[in-house]
């Protein structure tokens, strides 16, 4: 029987959630026995090679590429999980959500005290993804099946949740592993 496949992505996040996944220490050997990794920054696979059982999403959506990537994951994964505060509620990047986008970009590229920008333009190069009007939590863009909070979620939480999912058991998470920070 083929092993189920897992994919991961970091959208508008800091990769801290991925670091936490690696923090499961030697249990990673067990994990590799249980699953194959598909599209993920961990193995640098850029395109889905087939249907995945689980997609772990770190970060919210702050630009069009995040949205596109998230939609790509939704199309290719049976279960999608918001991993960490940024995926769940936008996190630190979402602090800009109460400020109009123009004000944010003006401060960053035109008016900020450390800005040197003789062109007076806001960057719009084709290589740069276009920015969204606000940072969207993942579940506002596509349907997310589970949420694992934390900044980052602890390795224990990720481990417990993944094992429960893969073994098709109910998530019975101990008090200590649920944290929002």
């Amino acid at each position: 029987m083929a092993k189920p496949k897992i994919a991961t992505a970091s959208l508008a996040g800091c990769f801290g959630c991925h670091m936490s996944l690696l923090d499961i220490d030697d249990r990673i050997l067990t994990l590799v026995d249980l699953v194959d990794f598909d599209k993920s920054p961990v193995d640098d696979i850029k395109k889905f090679t087939g249907r995945c059982a689980v997609g772990l999403i770190e970060g919210g959506c702050c630009n069009e590429e995040n949205v596109h990537n998230l939609q790509y994951f939704r199309e290719n994964c049976d279960i999608l999980i918001s991993v960490g505060e940024c995926a769940i509620m936008g996190g630190i990047p979402a602090m800009r959500n109460t400020i109009p986008l123009k004000e944010c970009l003006d401060e960053a590229y035109l008016n900020g005290p450390t800005v040197y920008n003789p062109s007076g333009n806001i960057p719009g190069d084709k290589e740069l993804p276009l920015i969204l009007d606000k940072v969207y939590p993942c579940h506002e863009v596509v349907k997310m099946d589970y949420h694992l909070p934390g900044c980052p979620p602890s390795a224990d939480l990720l481990w417990e949740a993944l094992v429960a999912l893969l073994e098709n058991k109910p998530m019975d998470l101990p008090y200590e592993v649920i944290k929002y920070d």
């Binding site: 505060e85 509620m89 602090m95 109460t98 949420h147 200590e176 920070d181």
Partner: protein, 238 residues
Amino acid sequence: MSDKIKFTIDGVEVEATPGQTIMQAADEAGVYIPRLCAHKDLLPFGSCRVCTVMVNDRPQAACTQPVSAGMSVESETEEIRQIRVNLIEMLFVEGNHYCPFCEKSGNCELQALGYRLGMLAPKYPYMFNKHDVDASHPDIYIDHNRCILCARCVRSSKELDGKNVFQFVGRGIHKKVAFNSDTNLGATDVSVTDKAIENCPVGAILKKGVGYSVPIGKRMYDTQPIGSDIEARKATAK
């Protein structure tokens, strides 16, 4: 004591002194009823509704409802748990609660209730309303993004500090805490030693110069759920 009365919480008999609220009697008996606006040193207020219980099948706030002999109180039913989770989730989406960088994280009662009630993420959409931060005072700052409108500061200032620094203005979703000054907090007679500062359950009112003083793992609610102190009374009683 012959003047004690008896009632039940979730079918278990509890003793109370007439005049007590359900919450006071429950606390003494070592039964924790979740709460946010209630505070042991302050008069009951009844705004957060997290302590909602069913009293003889009618919903009541345990913090304001007095006990009466023979009353049947339900607190830990699935229906009430769901209502409490919903209320906590409403507070999380109404404000802008960035736990990852909040100095109160780990010692925050809102967060702790989320943990205790098993909230992984709110099912409601985040409102992302704009709220102000006032750092005008040399020793205190107020971040309205984190305010849950529990009035502990309003009440503490009046009832405990003998001042009148805080009061609500506006109504509905626009309601907020204002200061007794035509400019900012710095222009009031608030002091860093006021109970109004200490009694904030969340990170809305914080002392400057403190920061993240307790390491992760050692903070109030890192390993023990909120209410554990009250529940420990039951263990001692037995």
